[in-house]
C-alpha cells in the first residue's frame, strides 16, 4: 500500500533557480537562504520518497489566459523545464508516475474534486525551484514527481478550505493505491510578497510566522482564512500559500515539524520552508464526514 510519509513546504522564487544554476548559491546574498535547506537535503537523502506529489502554480508558462484550470494533475510520463522567456533552466526533465497520478485523478473525481487532467506540459520555476532547493543539482532527479497545478493567479483561486479538503482527498487516494510506495507531498509558493502596484514589496514577517506555527500540530485554523486576509496581510501574491494547505490537509490530524526556516528577502519575497511529518498516520476520513459536510462546503465569511 502507498503511504504519505512527509510534507515539505517551500517558497519557489525564480531567482533561487538562477542563483543555483549560475553557481551563486554561496554568495553573501543567497548563502543564508540556501543554508536553511542544508538540513533538508541531508534529511531527504536518508528519507527518499518514491514519488512526490508537488503542488505548485504555473506562472504564465504552460497555461496562458486561454485555459485556466483551478486544480490540474499531471498524469504524463515526463515534463520538460519551461522556457520562461530566457531559455529553459538546464535541469533534468521531471519524470512522472502515470500509474499513481491516474489513480489519484480517478479517486479525486470520485471524491467530487473535478480535476483537469494534463498529459503533456512543460513545468516552470514553480515546480523546478523546489526540486533544486531540496536536491541540489543531480544529473537526474532522484524520484518521480506528480505535478499538481493550482490557479492562484486569476481570482477567485480556490478557498483555503477547499485546498485543505483536496489534501485530505489526496491522502485517501494514496492510501488506496495497491503498490508499496513512499509518497511525499510538497506545497510550494509564498510566503508574503507583492509584485505589483504602489504597495509592491510588502512583507509580513509576523503573519508568515503565525502561518508556519499553525501548520504544526492539530490546529486547522488556517483553512478558514479568507482570500481578503491573504491579500491585506501578505501582499497580492501571498495567496500562493493556499497551496501549502493542500500539503497540510494530506498529512492528517496532527503534524510534527522536523525543520523550519524563514528568511527575508529573496528578491521581492519572504522565503519560508518547513519539513513536516504526520504524527499518527491516520488517513483523513471520507468526504461524507469532512469534505462534503455542509460545514466544510460552506463559504468562508
Amino acid at each position: 500500500m502507498a503511504r504519505i510519509t512527509a510534507g515539505v513546504a517551500t517558497s519557489h522564487v525564480p531567482l533561487l533557480g538562477v542563483a543555483a544554476d549560475q553557481g551563486k548559491a554561496g554568495d553573501e546574498y543567497f548563502a543564508p537562504i540556501f543554508a536553511g535547506y542544508e538540513w533538508s537535503r541531508e534529511w531527504i537523502a536518508r528519507n527518499l520518497p518514491d514519488v512526490i506529489v508537488l503542488v505548485y502554480n504555473d506562472h504564465a508558462s504552460a497555461f496562458d489566459m486561454k485555459i485556466i484550470p483551478t486544480f490540474a494533475i499531471g498524469c504524463g510520463e515526463s515534463y520538460a523545464p519551461a522556457d520562461e522567456g530566457w531559455g529553459p533552466r538546464e535541469v533534468p526533465d521531471v519524470e512522472g508516475h502515470p500509474d499513481l497520478a491516474w489513480h489519484i485523478a480517478q479517486s479525486l473525481i470520485l471524491d467530487e474534486f473535478d480535476m483537469t487532467i494534463i498529459n503533456e506540459m512543460d513545468v516552470d520555476h514553480g515546480l523546478t525551484v523546489p526540486l533544486t532547493m531540496m536536491f541540489g543539482a543531480p544529473d537526474k532527479w532522484p524520484c518521480k514527481v506528480i505535478p499538481l497545478a493550482v490557479n492562484v493567479v486569476t481570482y477567485p483561486p480556490p478557498s483555503g478550505n477547499r485546498c485543505w479538503a483536496l489534501g485530505e482527498a489526496i491522502a485517501r487516494a494514496v492510501d488506496s493505491f495497491a503498490e508499496d510506495l513512499d509518497v511525499q507531498i510538497w506545497g510550494t509558493g509564498g510566503m508574503s510578497h507583492q509584485l505589483q502596484g504602489p504597495r509592491a514589496g510588502l512583507i509580513n514577517r509576523e503573519w508568515d510566522n503565525m502561518f508556519l506555527d499553525k501548520l504544526c500540530g492539530t490546529s486547522d485554523d488556517l483553512r478558514h482564512i479568507p482570500h481578503i486576509e491573504y491579500l491585506r496581510e501578505t501582499g497580492s501574491e501571498g495567496i500562493e500559500m493556499v497551496m501549502w494547505l493542500i500539503m497540510r490537509g494530506a498529512l492528517g490530524r496532527e503534524t510534527r515539524a522536523l525543520h523550519r526556516h524563514y528568511h527575508v528577502p529573496c528578491s521581492n519575497t519572504a522565503i519560508g520552508h518547513l519539513v513536516l511529518e504526520p504524527v499518527d498516520g491516520t488517513v483523513p476520513p471520507s468526504p461524507r464526514i469532512e469534505g462534503n459536510s455542509p460545514a466544510a462546503q460552506a463559504m468562508i465569511e
Partner: protein
C-alpha cells in the same frame, strides 16, 4: 460560516486595498489580449520582432490605443489598470533584460536602489496599507 456567500461583497473588498490591483475576472476579461500579447514574447522570434519595431508588433494585436501607449512607455501601473497581470507583463521585463525586482520597483514611488534597500531591510511593512477605509 454562512450557506451562501455574497459575491458582490467578496469582490467589493478588493478595492479597499491600497496600491493593489487584484486580478479579478473583470480585469482578466479586459486585459485578455494584452496578456496574450505579453505571453507571445515567450518565443525568441517574437521577442526579436517586437524589439525591431515595437509599434508594428503591437498593431498585430487587438489592443486599445491606451494599452499600446502604456506598453511603449513601460507604464506598468497603467497596464495593471488596463487588465494586465504581472506574471504576463513579466515577459516584457525579460524581453527588456530588466530584473523582476527592478521592474516591480517602477510601480512604486521609489527608485530601484531605494526599493532594493527597503527589501534588504525587511520589506514594506503592512502597517497602514491593509485597508483604505479602516486606515490600518
Amino acid at each position: 460560516m454562512t450557506d451562501k456567500r455574497d459575491i458582490h461583497a467578496y469582490l467589493g473588498e478588493f478595492d479597499d486595498i491600497p496600491g493593489t490591483r487584484v486580478f479579478t475576472a473583470a480585469r482578466a476579461r479586459q486585459g485578455y489580449h494584452l496578456n496574450q500579447f505579453a505571453m507571445s514574447l515567450m518565443k525568441p522570434d517574437n521577442r526579436e520582432r517586437f524589439r525591431a519595431d515595437e509599434k508594428a508588433y503591437l498593431d498585430e494585436w487587438k489592443l486599445t490605443d491606451a494599452m499600446k501607449a502604456a506598453v511603449l512607455r513601460r507604464d506598468y501601473n497603467a497596464l495593471l489598470d488596463l487588465g494586465g497581470n504581472v506574471y504576463f507583463l513579466s515577459k516584457i521585463f525579460s524581453t527588456d533584460g530588466v530584473s523582476f525586482a527592478e521592474a516591480v520597483s517602477t510601480m512604486t514611488d521609489m527608485d530601484f536602489p531605494t526599493y532594493r534597500d527597503m527589501m534588504n531591510k525587511g520589506g514594506r511593512s503592512p502597517e497602514g496599507v491593509r485597508s483604505i477605509k479602516d486606515k490600518r
